[in-house]
């Protein structure tokens, strides 16, 4: 059997996803994005580029914003993952999601889950960001529909209302 056709055995990983501990048999180099979407059926996290540029695959891993398309499954072993499904329902995210709706921050919606994760992460680190800081810290999430202004407005609105905790 040639080197390249040798199959690696799957390994077992255990991780908490949106508060639920799950054990899975996965290939160590499976992408976390695919584990979430196909392994766990959590399709809210999206694939836009597969190269860590668009941010549509953003999730929180141990409270830190990451691009799940660039995380091998084994490195997520033991981690706490929060996806858009987990965020929806969190009171701390509700004002952000409401602001997105009110400000027209979601058009086609494909960048929206990642954008909300990024905004949530931003506000958790900086509850009162300046407009410039919002723009800079969301720059890793690409949107093709909105031109960003209404997204930045939504985040600024939440910061202003002091609803961020």
């Amino acid at each position: 059997m040639s080197e390249s056709s040798r199959r690696a055995a799957k390994c077992e990983i255990s991780l908490s996803v949106n508060g639920r501990v799950t054990t899975l048999q996965v290939h160590a180099m499976a992408r976390l994005l695919d584990v979430l979407r196909h392994g766990l059926g959590l399709t809210g996290t999206k694939e836009g580029c597969g190269e860590g540029e668009c941010g549509s695959c953003s999730v929180l891993l141990d409270g830190v914003l990451v691009n799940s398309c660039l995380i091998p499954a084994l490195q997520a072993n033991g981690a706490n993952i929060v996806t858009i499904e987990g965020l929806t329902g969190e009171s701390s995210a509700q004002s952000l999601q409401r602001a997105f709706l009110e400000c027209g921050a979601a058009q086609c919606g494909i960048c929206t889950p990642g954008m909300i994760l990024a905004a949530f992460h931003l506000l958790s680190k900086k509850p009162q960001p300046s407009l410039e800081e919002i723009r800079e810290r969301l720059a890793g999430n690409l949107c093709r529909c909105t031109g960003y202004m209404q997204i930045v407005e939504a985040v600024a609105e939440v910061a202003r209302s002091g609803a961020a905790r």
């Binding site: 999206k46 597969g50 540029e53 058009q107 720059a139 690409l142 093709r144 960003y148």
Partner: protein, 759 residues
């Protein structure tokens, strides 16, 4: 009828909750039992005869479904305007990335290697990649003369007026390809059943385009093909025609395997293989009087259609008709042609020919101003179309549009005059060059000429058992607000609450063909039809006596419930009828090209960095007259989004080609603006109404794409004083031109700078 205003208010986006919670279902979110994944084997070469296809022995091909041209039950083509584009290349390839074979397998991870394991032997043929190469006819790659289509627009007597010109101003302007870069890649799922036929679900704009294409490809009757649109993550025209190709591929694999098949492109494949904006070249030759009035001119507008006809004739049409812009041309000859090259076919992208020809025109107006010695503002004032004048196609402008006032307002909003003065002073002192530029333009909404009549759009409204009404249209939502606005229109028309109106997901089994979701026609044309159909529902209920001329929303709902209980679900259909005033001569290309025009003036302020030659857009004013703003938040979002794509078109988005292949097909090196790159974009509206649109609305989806590139480039020219005539305009290009000018200045001594100099 007592209701709060729904039209004109920013009601919640209908499907907004699903989008912000991750519940919205896009095609890759769906799986069917027993589903296979499909992949496409593509040509790597631009033009060749296929000698042999070999399957590498390292793959167990028994595991794979393999589809080739011989598996096509019907005609091997993707039916569109012409049938020249094969679904799978058969014997010859005409562009890189042309589909050759299809593979399917239960494990999506095994596909890339299998695709790589197929090798193709070619007898390569000489290929052409540029408009100029196509024109020489050294290689004839399509038809008799590489020409997909020509249009000729003539008005007045162009040949006679040159002698009266005080100035003759010439210019050539080019625009490059642009990738739509919707964040959701293309995808389709197909399922075949001997009884039901083919069903496809996908990311798409035009269900009935796909329906027509599959009928022909699979040799199936209309009721054995079903197309369902799923939530679509951005489109911008990029999902107008190519989804038919992908649906065809998925359908063939589904038919051969007997299993559902999903094809999802990754970003590299999507960028390299699917359509892009047509590259263009526009040549202007204009006769101008000494006080800056356009006496007339010749405009030659040429677009590169790529290897097959696809939609090029229609892009050409719109580009040609918009080539004269918002100005009065007493005499004009517009010669337009779409030519073939061995590039992957170019296609629809927001604006659809108009951004190309309007870029040229608006740059040319600044050039004319320069030659005549008047300002960019003045040259426009002196030539604006006014009510009662006719366009280049001799369409009478009947509405009371005052472009001078629109310009005044844009100048005021942007602080144009003061800035222009200050920049002149600042630029002398500082290294950084600041500039401000204008673009004034129009955009016709709906299909050109008799296009809407040929479409014969039909919409339905259904009365439901729960008392709600449901809109039945093939118009698709892909972020622009189709669902929301159509529901607003119906709710307002019927005096219902916004929540009382639903809209069916576009499914060709359930909705009539209201035409494609393109050409900025949805709110205006389909919206108006939906209004008529709604009135039809009301008339039905009124006829039963269950409601009178005046009623409360609950009365209507109860009446509807009762009616359905008695008679079952009921529908009202409305069909498009061309208004009498919209008269178009398809042969002479003359008359009312569009039922309505939206008008705009954009102002861009830039700084050119002296160290890096990069351009930053510091302020942007987008002022437009749009008939009526039906939903302020959505309308604003459309303008801002379009402006940002236009800024991308001008400054960031360069497709790098090598022998017809896109080299920078990744998000890391095809550059679109991020949130950190943009100023506040200040959006303002005016409303003149529109008798042909629902509640007076005009189409606005594409309008914002036309203005930013010329406004920004005019501003850059204002800043550095070097004429730039191409987009995208990169810092490297600015640097090269400044260096060239510096070298020329160094070596030139006595060079006459005549007023008629070609620059």
């Amino acid at each position: 009828m007592n209701h709060s205003n729904i039209v004109g208010t920013s009601v919640p986006r209908l499907e907004g909750r699903d989008k912000i919670s991750g519940q919205a279902r896009y095609v890759d979110d769906m799986e069917l039992p027993g589903m296979l994944y499909g992949a496409t084997v593509r040509s790597r070469i631009a033009r060749a005869k296929i000698k042999q296809i070999s399957f590498g022995s390292e793959i167990n091909w028994q595991e794979f479904v393999i589809v080739g041209p011989s598996d096509i039950p019907g005609t091997n083509c993707i039916a569109l305007i012409d049938d020249d584009q094969p679904c799978l290349a058969d014997g010859v390839v005409n562009h890189p990335e042309e589909p050759l074979l299809l593979l399917a397998h239960p494990d999506r991870h095994l596909l890339p290697k299998a695709v790589e394991a197929i090798s193709v032997e070619y007898d390569s043929l000489p290929a052409i990649f540029k408009i100029e190469e196509s024109e020489t006819l050294a290689q004839v790659i399509w038809g008799a003369d590489n020409t997909f289509k020509t249009h000729l627009i003539e008005k007045g007597d162009v040949d006679a007026m040159w002698q009266n010109a005080d100035y003759i101003v010439e210019g050539e302007y080019t625009t490059g390809a642009q990738e739509q870069l919707y964040i959701e890649n293309n995808g389709m799922i197909a399922q075949f059943d001997a009884e039901k036929g083919i069903t496809v679900w996908g990311s798409l704009q035009c269900p009935y385009y796909i329906h027509k294409a599959l009928m022909k490809l699979c040799a199936l009757p209309a009721d054995k093909v079903r197309v369902v649109q799923m939530e679509t993550g951005g489109a911008f025209g990029g999902k107008e025609e190519y989804p038919s190709m992908i649906a065809a591929h998925a359908a063939l694999l589904a038919m051969k395997s007997g299993k559902p098949v999903k094809i999802i492109y990754d970003r590299m494949e999507d960028m390299a293989a699917t359509t892009k904006r047509h590259p263009s070249r526009t040549r202007h030759r204009t006769a101008v009087s000494k006080d800056g009035k356009i006496l007339g001119g010749e405009i030659e507008f040429t677009i590169d259609g790529g290897a097959y006809k696809t939609l090029s004739p229609v892009v050409l049409s719109r580009g040609a008709i918009h080539a004269g812009g918002a100005y009065y041309w007493p005499n004009v000859r517009i010669r337009a042609k779409a030519v073939a090259t061995n590039m992957p076919p170019h296609g629809a992208f927001r604006g659809f020919g108009a951004p190309q020809s309007l870029f040229a025109l608006e740059r040319h107006m600044d050039r004319i101003a320069d030659v005549v010695g008047i300002s960019a503002v003045e040259i426009r004032r002196r030539n604006f179309l006014t009510t009662g004048q006719t366009t280049t196609t001799q369409q009478m402008i009947r509405e009371k549009i005052d472009l001078n006032k629109l310009l005044d307002r844009a100048l005021e909003l942007s602080g144009y005059h003061l800035k222009k003065e200050n920049f002149a002073v600042e630029n002398r002192q500082n290294g950084g060059k600041k500039g401000i530029g204008i673009a004034a333009f129009l955009h016709g909404a709906g299909f050109t000429g008799s296009g809407e009549r040929y479409l014969g759009s039909a919409v339905g409204i259904e009365g439901c058992a729960d008392g709600k009404v449901r809109i039945l249209v093939s118009s698709t939502e892909f972020g622009q607000g189709t669902k929301t606005v159509l529901c607003q229109i119906v709710a307002e028309t019927l005096g219902l609450r916004y929540e009382d109106v639903e809209i069916a997901q576009p499914d060709t089994d359930q909705v009539p063909n209201s035409g494609p979701t393109v050409a900025s026609r949805t709110v205006m044309v389909v919206g108006k039809l939906v209004q008529s159909a709604a009135i039809g529902i009301r008339e039905t209920l009124k006829a039963t006596g269950k409601i009178g001329d005046s009623y409360a929303a609950e009365d209507f709902r109860r009446a509807c419930q009762a009616y359905v209980l008695e008679h079952g679900k009921f529908q009202s259909i409305a069909k498009y009828e061309q208004p009498d005033e919209v008269v178009w001569d398809e042969e002479k290309y003359r008359g009312s090209a569009y039922a309505a025009y939206a008008w705009a003036v954009y102002v861009a302020e830039v700084t050119v960095d002296p160290v890096t030659y990069s351009v930053s857009v510091d302020d942007f004013v987008a002022l437009q007259e749009v008939g009526k703003v039906l939903h302020p938040e959505l309308a604003k979002g459309q303008i801002i989004g379009g402006v940002v794509q236009g800024i991308g078109f001008a400054l960031y988005e360069k497709v790098i080609w090598e022998n017809g292949r896109m080299l920078n097909g990744q998000m890391t090196n095809y550059i679109i603006p991020t949130s950190a790159d943009l100023p506040s974009i200040r959006v303002h509206f005016e409303e003149l109404g529109n008798i042909h649109g629902a509640y007076g609305a005009k189409g606005i989806g594409e309008l914002p794409m036309d203005g930013p590139a010329p406004a920004v480039v005019n501003a850059i020219v204002d800043a550095v004083g070097v004429p730039f005539n191409s987009v995208p305009l990169m810092p490297e290009d600015i640097f090269d031109s400044l260096e060239d000018r510096a070298a020329r200045d160094l070596h030139s001594s006595a060079r006459g700078q005549g007023a008629q100099e070609k620059r």
